[in-house]
Amino acid sequence: MAMELFGIAAGQLGLFISFGLLIGTLFGFFGMGGSFLVTPALLVMGYDSTTAVGSGLAFVFGTSVIAALRHRDHGQVDYKLGLMFIVGMTAGIEVGKGVVYYLKALGFADLVVSISYIGLLAIVGLLMLRDARTESSDDDGSALAEKFQSIKIPPMVSIKGGTKVSLWVTLAMAFAIGILSGFLGVGGGFLLMPAMMYGLGVPAAVAVGTDVFQITASGAFGAFTYAQSGALDLTIVLPLLAGSAMGARIGAGATALVNEDDITEYFAAMLLAGSAAVASRNLGNAYDMGIFNQASKVLIFGSALLVSGAVIWASIQSIREDEPAESVHAAD
């Protein structure tokens, strides 16, 4: 019989803590929540879509609680805006969850969630790759932002920084992001930040604080609603969170040592590998070929290991290069 700790097999405990450490390092370094690699990894490991999404949302909740504790002194949370996003997102999450369970009843949930992840990871990966390889131009983003901000459907609500936002536009945005969150088990920070900053014209500092505050609330709601259906697996979430919280500190520390642009292309490649991993897993299941299932695991875990290894290696090199200079100054 396999050794168990707190009712969790030691091998599984080690695997999730290690994977959490890798994704925590990566997403701490790149300033993202990391949830959109957790759910596909669980799918690749053979968990059903509801457990993968429910546990992904619980992981989002845990990481955002830690982020909220770190941001709590900054005072940059707009509670009015946060509340509007919580209302819109919780409604959206409920709809997203309803879609997953409807598809599950039809027998398509695993396939549709997997295909959505293949598309999401591929799009985000390709966009990051394009940004890393081209000179950044905000012209398109600014034009879109102006278009959104020109929609002034009353009532208009004043938020921090002197900006006024439309209640209905804000709720509609939050609802749409909530559907995605409830459907895919992601926090939605990668959509919320641009939605607040470009869509509503919220100042960046307020957007960061409000984003963390509202993801904590909507993550808790999403985890709770899936947990009520028995789709929250603590044997996944607790070790994953333990690893990722430590990794996030390593990753955040590395930002002071390594230029993010040097690693962005590797990170984009990792997201593309994640997309290929989910596709490979589905091919393996469809044609009952174990080689595709093995390849999917190697792709998702191998690429996460390589890219987080690159971040840590570059940090160590940076410390080593700085050390002689510091020694010279000390000798002076």
Partner: protein, 49 residues
Amino acid sequence: MIGLESLGATGQAVTGVGAVLVEAMLLYVGYGALTTALSGPVKRALGGS
């Protein structure tokens, strides 16, 4: 898993989300103290001095 099966659906959900919340707070405090205590020695060790 972890003996929650005897609880009802809402009880399981509250316990599950509560466990994640408690763990997150413990990790924030514990890792914060660990980082403060170890960052200097680790940096020195990696720097080779």
